[in-house]
Amino acid sequence: METFYYIIGGILLLALVIAAFRFFQGPTAPDRVIALDAMSIILTAGLVMLALVFQRFIYIDVALIYSILGFMGIVSIARWMEKGI
């Protein structure tokens, strides 16, 4: 099982790094936001995995909250970009 966690964790990390590449490259603000969005999704998944790894149910709450905040972040940025706020 541990090997499985390591492999999965490795893939997530790799995905995170690749997405981060787009974040730093841009070129437009929405591009960065997309990268950020992707990264936050990957992190949400990662958090759920951590709950499994540490066998702590309560960490799933963290993932849930994290996904809400990620969502709100993107929507806020989007509304701000179109001068909706």
């Binding site: 309560i58 960490y59 909250i65 709100m72 929507v75 509304r79 001068k83 909706g84 706020i85």
Partner: protein, 230 residues
């Protein structure tokens, strides 16, 4: 030149800060009071979440202050932006119907999640501040997604007042029962259950309401001064 100087100064300060922390071994236990909290939280406070027992019980006075800070920020913001009106809206600002519908559909779920989080503050990670923040997030979503959304400030104000009064009264009751301010006066119950940890969940629910109401109020005040009326 100025940049160079800034970099130099910051490097200098950074170096000293690092020096200060360099002697602190990372990842090793340096606990003194922390240890006591961890050992006494379940038997003495009935709270499973040590952070919560610290926040609401051991260092509840800090939290009362913290709640006050937020309350003051909301009050101050209202004072600073009092009477300010934004520019009239243009058509550009209208949210799409997808967002509007989505916001309406997600709002109760988010509020419920927030409530869940502050009700379980003594059991799971989270608590009044986190739950309140999530509720405010829900309100933010309404602000973003609904064109003419305005929070009901009178209601928010009553909510935050009542919640704040609850907190202080919970403290004063400790005095009234011949104990100290903010001291627990309720039975501790079975650790791990919803109705446990004495007064902690009550305070945290109050904090949740308060934080939610205040942050929502702050967001709405800010938005309405920037986006303005038609």
């Amino acid at each position: 030149m100025k940049k160079l100087l800034a970099t130099f100064l910051l490097g200098f300060i950074g170096f000293y800060l690092y020096t200060a922390f360099a002697g602190v071994p990372f990842g090793e236990s340096k606990m003194k009071v922390g240890k006591d909290y961890l050992e006494t939280t379940v038997p003495k406070t009935g709270a499973v979440n040590t952070v919560t027992s610290i926040v609401v019980n051991y260092r509840g006075f800090d939290t009362l202050g913290e709640v006050t800070v937020l309350f003051l920020a909301a009050t101050g913001l209202g004072a600073i932006l009092f009477g300010m009106k934004g520019k009239p809206e243009d058509k550009h600002r209208e949210p799409s119907s997808i967002l509007t519908t989505g916001a309406k559909a997600l709002f109760p779920i988010i509020v419920l999640l927030g409530a869940y989080i502050f009700i379980h503050g003594h059991l799971t990670p989270g608590g009044g501040f986190q739950g309140g923040t999530i509720i405010a997030t829900g309100v933010l979503m309404l602000i973003l997604g609904i064109k003419k959304f305005h929070a009901n400030h009178a209601l928010l104000s009553i909510m935050e007042s009542l919640a704040g009064i609850t907190f202080v009264v919970a403290g004063i009751l400790g005095l009234a029962f011949g104990k100290t301010f903010l001291e627990n006066i309720l039975p501790l119950g079975t650790p791990g259950q919803v109705f446990s940890a004495g007064v902690i969940p009550i305070i945290y629910v109050a904090v949740g309401f308060k934080v939610g109401a205040e942050l929502a109020g702050v967001l709405d005040t800010m938005m309405s001064t920037t986006r303005g009326e038609e």
